[in-house]
């Protein structure tokens, strides 16, 4: 048991951090509380650096808690990913704090940290119990984070919607877990992988797996469980939306990968058609619905659906390159999306609506923010030399490989649907750019004063986007190596 403990040093310290921040509330005067966030950021920074130094607790690989908890390349990749995400989100939150319930801002920080803890657990869960607990930890925290602006009805409404649908999905998942356990008698992924082939025909077992997928599909907002995303994205406070868009989606994906490719690879093999269809519809739905959308945060909601679709390309490809591509794409998506939300948080904070027209004249008001938003949009649209392009390139490549290996026509259709999606998305992304640079209805042109941290965040995001677009080697190698943890799925 004690042996196991030193696997979860990171998680423990993160939870500790969360508690400390929460307690800090009592000692810090209200007007200073927003700076608590920077303390948290510093601490997370230290943890991140530790994770790179060889003996960081999360980088010594192995299983703990009789195999319920695993530290491997994949978990390491995602843990760093989540920490970075949390850091950036904390920055955004600190900028946005006055819009949140200002007094209790420290709670907000600590909740972000707790969500982060959940994600960290998710990243290395190797057992359905761990999976369930991790997901619930994330979800329940997000219920609060989403509805944190108690003054705004929209925030509460979003919270309730997320609550009901989230609870619904998790009950499905739990029931699924129950069925899986009932049929196979094991909850551990590794053991399950060994026995799963015998149960390929058992409908109860398959039903169980599917119900688990329902839960995960809800987290990543994949069709047909995407319906909640736009409303929640729109209603939630911007930092929450940002964290929801990147953190919880990524957590969903790491779990999805673990379940599909570690727990039940033999079953997954037969589901290529299912995965193709889901990913195709998700791409189309997200992009098409985003077309007429004027509300920026809602637009991000739809676009995040479509990106879930793109990411599912990598799942559907059923090959190591696909999985690596997913990791790479998520890495790029992290900086891109957070860049976008940073701008939203800074620019639209004073407007009651989140309409795209709110960006009008931004190029005069703050060139840096204008550039950040533009780069984010262009990267989302998948245009070189930005992260989005290389990610999409890898995803497409993996799918075409799959098409070539298994002469399954679905893959070819999938490629072209993805292509259509990209083209459609160009339209609304460039619409945003247009609003920034040459929209006529520029109302106020008052320059926006940026705090040093905000500038820093913007530059970090831009740097990240360009770095991943121009020098993919490092991250790509990490991703490839992380993807090796999956048993190679072959028919």
């Amino acid at each position: 048991m004690n042996a196991s403990l030193n696997f979860i040093g990171l998680e423990i310290s993160v939870i500790g951090l969360g508690l400390v921040l929460m307690l800090a509330d009592f000692f810090v005067p209200a007007e200073r509380r927003r700076f608590i966030g920077y303390a948290g950021i510093a601490a997370l920074g230290v943890l991140l650096i530790m994770s790179f130094s060889g003996n960081g607790t999360c980088s010594n690989f192995g299983f703990g808690f009789n195999n319920a908890f695993v530290n491997d390349g994949l978990s390491l990749f995602f843990k760093r990913f989540f920490i970075v995400a949390a850091i950036l989100v904390l920055f955004i939150a600190a900028e946005f704090s006055d819009k949140l319930a200002a007094g209790s801002i420290a709670e907000y920080y600590s909740l972000i940290i707790f969500a982060l803890a959940g994600m960290l657990f998710a990243a290395s869960s190797n057992d359905f119990v761990m999976l369930f607990v991790a997901i619930e930890l994330i979800t329940v925290t997000f219920y609060v984070l989403v509805s944190f602006q108690r003054s705004k009805v929209a925030s509460l409404e979003a919270g309730v919607k997320y609550l009901i649908l989230g609870a619904l999905s998790s009950s499905f998942m739990v029931f699924g877990i129950a069925l899986i356990w009932g049929t196979t008698g094991t909850l551990n992924f590794t053991e399950l992988a060994a026995v799963a082939p015998q149960f390929e025909t058992s409908r109860i077992f398959l039903l169980g797996v599917l119900l688990v997928l329902v839960g995960l599909g809800f987290k990543i907002a994949a069709f047909p469980f995407q319906i909640w995303a736009p409303d929640v994205y729109q209603g939630a406070p911007t930092p929450t939306t940002a964290f929801l868009a990147i953190g919880s989606k990524a957590a969903g994906f790491v779990l999805l990968l673990r379940v599909l490719f570690t727990a039940v690879p033999s079953v997954t093999l037969h589901w290529e058609k299912l995965l193709i269809v889901i990913s195709a519809i998700t791409i189309l739905y997200g992009n098409l619905c985003a077309l007429p959308q004027r509300n920026l945060k809602r637009l991000f909601g739809y676009s995040s659906i479509s990106h879930a679709g793109y990411l599912l390309l990598g799942v559907a490809a059923l090959n190591a390159n696909g999985q690596a591509a997913i990791l790479y794409y998520l890495a790029g998506y992290l900086f891109t999306v957070l860049a976008g939300f940073l701008v939203i948080a800074l620019v639209l904070r004073h407007l009651e609506t989140d309409d795209v027209s709110g960006l009008a004249g931004l190029s005069q008001r703050s060139p840096l923010l204008a550039a950040t938003m533009t780069i984010s949009m262009v990267s989302l649209a998948g245009i070189p030399p930005l992260a989005g392009f290389f990610g999409k390139f890898l995803l497409l490549k993996s799918v075409i490989e799959a098409a070539q290996k298994s002469h399954h026509y679905g893959y070819i259709y999938l490629v072209f649907i993805a292509l259509a999606g990209v083209v459609i998305s160009l339209y609304y992304y460039f619409n945003v750019v247009r609003a920034i640079y040459w929209s006529k209805e520029a109302r106020d042109l008052s320059p926006i004063a940026l705090s040093a941290p905000a500038k820093l965040t913007a530059w970090v995001c831009i740097a990240g986007i360009f770095w991943l677009g121009l020098f993919p080697n490092t991250v790509l190698n990490l991703a490839n190596q992380a993807a090796t943890v999956f048993v190679a799925v072959t028919k």
Partner: protein
């Protein structure tokens, strides 16, 4: 071959002068004109040197490699033989005179420099045609000639009519060039070479080399000549081309360029089989006929001469078709002399009349402009084939050719045309120079300056003596294998070897002359329309060719353009792209209706989704 670099110099001097003028001396009229004149005169001198050095009966080639891709080999090469040498004389000689004349004629024009630049460009391209040793080079110069004529016709581009005329000339020529290049491609595809000598060898080696395509290829090549030499049905551009300055009409549209077609035919004569030659001869004859008829009812002094040019070109083409390159080239040369003379004289008349061109405004000018009158007379006599003027010999040679070839129909036509030619020329002659002044301009007309009259005189000399200075000898040496060179006296007496055609020619002249005399001596208005009625209007309106083409060719292309544009606008752009755009947008708006905002609906859709998923996997 001595001085073999001289031809290159001859060829490129005008180009250089054109370049220099456009780049540097556009500001100064005098300098530019002197450069241009110098270039062409120097060319003439060098031609003389070259010919003296090598004698006339020789042939040689010199070439630089220009383009070589796989089996497409196009050299930039010069073919030097009697044919090209004679043409060199014509182009540089007559051209030189016209350059000098233009110095006087264009003196008032503010863009004289541009004029001389274009003139030099033209000279270069014309020399290019003359010297080219392969079809591609010839085609290139061919196009350049076309464009320089385009520029010169449109020289006074502010005049809408000039602009239109230039456009028309260019497009009609392009029609001919289309056939020409088509033919070149075909010949190249069949014989695998573009070089004249090589082609000639492969044809002589195997006369059937062109196979079934022979006639087609021949006629396609002829299309080029049709365009440049304004043969029916592509003759319509030449009369309009008179919108250009008169020296241009003299140089390009009488002496040299329009003759290029005939020259090209003679150059590539070996390609044409009997059938194609047959067609060519009849087209030539027909052109000559209708042109002569049109000329009878024109009132613009330049247009009359233009139509006569047309009909003379028809003569030459017909003669080529009758397998008589020598007479054709002979007539081409003499015609260059006297037609240039006529045009320049007309130009001097026009200047004297302050740019009045309607002959019915003139009259009795022989008093006012003696030199012009004298030279014009000589030109007229030469054109009408009065012995011993040059025209007499060349025209007689043509008639004789027709007669010897036993194509009596064409012979008859030729004689008839001879009569017509005399008629309309003397009509012009009497109306302009005799009778009484028909306008104030005519009363105050004045003789032109020396720089303009001098070339007239020189040309007059050649128009007179052209018949017996050995032109035939040189061409003969080119085309006839065992031919003896005639002394001047032999040439003088040549027509008597075959009296019948000569007699016919003289009779035709007599008829035409007396008809014109009776009708137009002292006439103040044209009596002919009353006599001829409908026919006259038909002639006056050039048999409505322009209108017909307008209604068919142009209309068809505009219609197709409209159709294509409509398809582009409404089918491709509107329907297809519009449908895709609209469809996408619409489906987006439809899909998002699912987002009702109602939690219950969401839950329901969620469950529905689960059901779908389960059915999809477990359903079967």
């Amino acid at each position: 071959m001595k001085y073999e670099n001289l031809p290159w110099l001859i060829l490129f001097l005008p180009l250089i002068s054109a370049a220099v003028i456009t780049l540097f001396t556009l500001r100064s009229k005098t300098v530019s004109s002197l450069i241009s004149i110098g270039a062409v005169v120097a060319g003439f001198v060098m031609t003389v040197i070259f010919v003296n050095a090598n004698g006339m009966q020789f042939s040689g080639e010199t070439s630089l490699q220009w383009l070589e891709i796989g089996d497409l080999k196009a050299d930039f090469g010069l073919k030097l033989d009697a044919l090209s040498m004679m043409m060199l004389f014509v182009v540089t000689g007559v051209g030189g005179l016209i350059h000098i004349y233009s110095y006087g004629y264009m003196h008032e024009d503010r863009s004289m420099a541009r004029f001389f630049a274009c003139l030099s460009l033209f000279t270069f391209s014309m020399l290019g045609i003359v010297l080219a040793n392969n079809f591609l080079m010839m085609f290139i110069s061919w196009e350049l000639v076309g464009v320089s004529s385009y520029l010169l016709i449109g020289f006074w581009f502010e005049k809408p009519s000039a602009g239109d005329a230039a456009k028309k000339a260019f497009i009609v020529n392009r029609l001919g060039d289309f056939g020409f290049l088509f033919g070149i491609l075909m010949v190249w595809g069949l014989l695998g070479s573009l070089n004249f000598s090589a082609l000639q060898n492969s044809i002589t080696a195997n006369p059937a080399a062109l196979g079934a395509m022979a006639t087609t290829a021949g006629l396609l090549i002829f299309c080029g000549a049709m365009g440049k030499s304004a043969q029916f049905p592509l003759h319509v551009w030449l009369p309009d081309a008179m919108e250009g300055p008169t020296p241009v009409s003299a140089l390009i549209h009488a002496a040299t360029m329009v003759a290029a077609g005939v020259y090209m035919l003679c150059r590539s004569l070996f390609l044409f089989n009997a059938d194609s030659l047959h067609v060519i001869s009849y087209i030539g004859g027909f052109t000559a006929l209708i042109a002569a008829l049109m000329a009878v009812q024109q009132n613009d002094i330049k247009r009359i001469i233009a139509y006569s040019t047309l009909s003379q070109l028809g003569y030459m083409v017909m003669t080529v078709g009758l397998n008589g390159p020598t007479p054709a080239m002979f007539h081409l040369t003499t015609h260059a002399f006297f037609k240039a003379l006529l045009f320049l004289a007309a130009g001097s008349v026009i200047i004297g009349m302050h740019h009045e061109q309607d002959i019915w405004q003139m009259g009795n000018l022989r008093k006012k402009m003696p030199i012009t009158f004298l030279t014009f007379t000589i030109g007229t006599l030469a054109l009408c084939g009065v012995p011993p003027f040059s025209g007499f010999y060349s025209k007689d040679a043509i008639l004789a050719q027709a007669w010897e070839q036993k194509s009596y129909l064409l012979f008859g036509v030729a004689v008839f045309i001879a009569a017509l030619t005399t008629f309309y020329t003397f009509r012009l002659f009497f109306v302009v120079f005799f009778g009484k002044e028909k306008s104030d301009h005519a009363k105050h007309a004045h003789e032109s300056s020396l720089v303009m009259t001098l070339p007239l005189v020189i040309l007059a000399v050649f128009s007179f003596a052209g018949g017996f200075i050995g032109i035939t000898n040189n061409y003969g040496s080119q085309f006839v294998h065992e031919h003896e060179t005639f002394s001047a006296w032999q040439q003088f007496a040549e027509p008597f070897h075959n009296p019948f055609p000569m007699v016919c020619g003289l009779v035709a002249f007599a008829i035409g002359f007396f008809a014109a005399l009776s009708l137009y001596k002292n006439a103040t208005s044209d009596p002919l329309p009353k006599k001829l009625g409908g026919l006259a209007t038909l002639m006056k309106n050039k048999f409505y060719f322009d209108e017909i083409y307008e209604a068919t060719f142009i209309r068809a292309h505009d219609f197709l353009a409209a159709v294509a544009d409509w398809i582009d606008r409404w089918i491709l752009e509107g329907a297809i792209i519009g449908a895709i755009r609209g469809g996408t947008d619409l489906s987006g708006r439809a899909l998002r209706l699912a987002q009702t905002g109602n939690l219950q609906t969401y839950a329901f859709l969620f469950v529905l989704g689960v059901a779908l998923l389960l059915y999809f996997v477990l359903g079967k």
